[in-house]
Symmetry: C2
Subunit: 163 residues, 2 copies
């Protein structure tokens, strides 16, 4: 029934030893969220590396892919979606364009703007990469039943909504 103690339990226990009046319940939640995010982020980074792209670069082509045909968005739309500054976006687009996974074309309706589109090669790569990435995530969830995953999803949605 009871779960194993983990590193976060050890940290909350340490805090209780030196500051027993603190309510450590929040750090039991967020401490684990930070650790899961970091560990999974590293794992995803490693997996995408096999496709020659970083996790951030994957996010760009994946955003274009899931936007549907004609797989075209502006740098502005991409940087807004990915919560990235335009400077950061420029760098990612430079790399992906150089790798032949997408191309930048002038926006015919706004001469300030660009249209970013996935190439055929980019489309093929992102379709493989998203499948591979989901497999890594799915494997990380094997310890939980389908019902627990659904429960966790609901609690996380509720938590995220309140932030």
């Amino acid at each position: 029934m009871s779960e194993e103690k983990d590193a976060v339990d050890a940290i909350t226990a340490q805090w209780f030893a030196v500051r027993p009046e603190l309510d450590t319940a929040p750090m039991a939640v967020f401490g684990r969220i930070y650790r899961i995010a970091k560990a999974m982020g590293d794992a995803m980074e490693e997996r995408y590396q096999r496709f020659g792209i970083s996790r951030g670069e994957f996010d760009v082509v994946a955003t274009l892919r899931r936007s549907g045909a004609p797989y075209t968005l502006s740098p502005r739309q991409l940087s807004a979606t990915l919560m990235l500054t335009t400077g950061g976006m420029t760098g990612r687009l430079d790399k992906l364009e150089k790798a032949g996974l997408l191309c930048r074309k002038p926006d015919p309706h706004d001469r300030r703007g660009l249209q970013v589109t996935i190439t055929d090669r980019g489309l093929e790569l992102v379709d493989e990469a998203v499948t591979a990435g989901l497999e890594v995530q799915r494997a990380a969830l094997t310890g939980l039943s389908d019902e627990e995953v659904a429960q966790l999803t609901g609690l996380l949605r509720k938590l995220l909504a309140g932030i």
Copy 2:
């Protein structure tokens, strides 16, 4: 009963539209975990800024604080605990020492090593900062009942254990 749709729901719906055969359940979990980690990380960063330190620097003095008297650890122990390279640790210690929140002394038992200790000022600051940080986290959890927080903690512990 049913929760509001959020940005992650929109993303999974987009994927379903273009790749209906994908099982998007994992990204419903990890997508939210990434977003919560980022949003809370930013919020904590902002809160600690009021104490003149970054989140990473807080983690250093907090680790020393919760280690208990005499609040002394080696740079090696700190970088291992914080999952940081020694190079990164050097930088954080430089800043904190310069700010007068900790001091480095030679390890009397090992002339390669150092002993890092919180100063009185550092101790005072970290005790205020940890309280303030917990308050930010507690506020983020107000949408969840105590039972839900406990449930979420258990599910996250289980998930983290399997990664």
